[in-house]
Subunit: 199 residues, 2 copies
């Protein structure tokens, strides 16, 4: 019972974030403005503003919220799979689905290219996220090595990089050329990867 009895402020704050998330998917975190956001949720600028205290804090909240959804969508369901290749594949498949779930463009990945060569709290948050998920991916790979489904000599960090690359490739192609074709390419690439790292 985490979200029971949400106060009015909390629920509208959630509504704002929801709306901002859709907007950021089209315009990026940087393209977000309080004015247009207020118009979309049907509030005044100052009304929206008061919930966050600053635009940067709103962006930060958005990043957090996105991260929560991401983990829920990609990592959590995989826990139902047995450790090893099954679980790793589940993560990757869900990751592919995540791109589609977000209409072909991902706020979190967009934030990487917006903030990777900048300083500030948003950069720090993005870096933390990416580091964490790369680590989680490598961990999943490690389990698949331990079950013997991947070769014992597997460099799991390298494999995590290569899987992540496929995700980036899919994200890239989905945005430019369409989701379906991109997903097929990505599926095949991942299958190849698993095959080439096999025992």
């Amino acid at each position: 019972m985490a979200t029971v009895n949400p106060t009015k402020g909390e629920s509208t704050r959630e509504r704002i974030i929801e709306s901002a998330y859709g907007m950021a998917r089209r315009e990026g975190l940087e393209g977000l403005t309080i004015g247009s956001l207020a118009a979309e949720v049907g509030m005044s600028k100052s009304g929206v503003f008061a919930h966050f205290g600053s635009l940067e804090d709103l962006q930060l909240a958005l990043l957090d919220s996105g991260a929560r959804r991401f983990v829920e969508h990609v990592f959590t369901p995989a826990l139902k799979q047995p450790r090893g290749l099954k679980r790793l594949a589940s993560v990757v498949e869900a990751w592919f689905g995540w791109v589609h779930f977000n209409g072909g463009s991902c706020v979190l990945l967009g934030a990487v290219s917006e903030y990777d060569s900048r300083e500030g709290v948003l950069h720090d948050a993005v870096l933390r996220q990416q580091t964490e998920w790369r680590r989680a991916l490598a961990k999943s790979a490690t389990l698949a090595v331990e079950t013997g489904e991947l070769g014992a000599a597997t460099d799991v960090e390298q494999l995590a990089f290569e899987i992540y690359s496929v995700v980036l490739g899919m994200n890239h192609d989905a945005g430019l050329f369409g989701y379906e074709a991109a997903r097929q390419r990505a599926e095949r690439a991942f299958a190849r990867l698993v095959g080439s790292y096999g025992p």
Copy 2:
């Protein structure tokens, strides 16, 4: 003799683009403003503005200029290599180097995530670029199949996607975690790729 006797206007236009390119590398094409650009080149806003007619045209010019550099840096030198795997490898290596050449963040790739889910001439230009380079990459792969250095059954479009993914992975990691480590990962990934597609 293309750039001989450049008129004054042409040369300052070049200077502006040069400066804008560096700025766009930090802030993205979207983050570019005529005011800050004018300040950096030491001109008035209107003086800068007059060279392009609109901000969008400036961004478009920047995209064109970047494309020219990119081709010059990545594709042109590879022509000195014999057709086949040598040339393909040369393209990929130069591509890796291109990321470093641009200080770890590439304007052209940045433009993809800025404009992939938008409409307009900038989106169109980005799409044209990416389509062209993917095609060129696939073509390079085709030659390597014809020389017998890659398997006859190779799906060159799939291979092009996978190579491109590695480039994206490298770009991602270079921006967040540093160039050197990213390049090593990318090198190994490409080597694996070539190996797994071998004859």
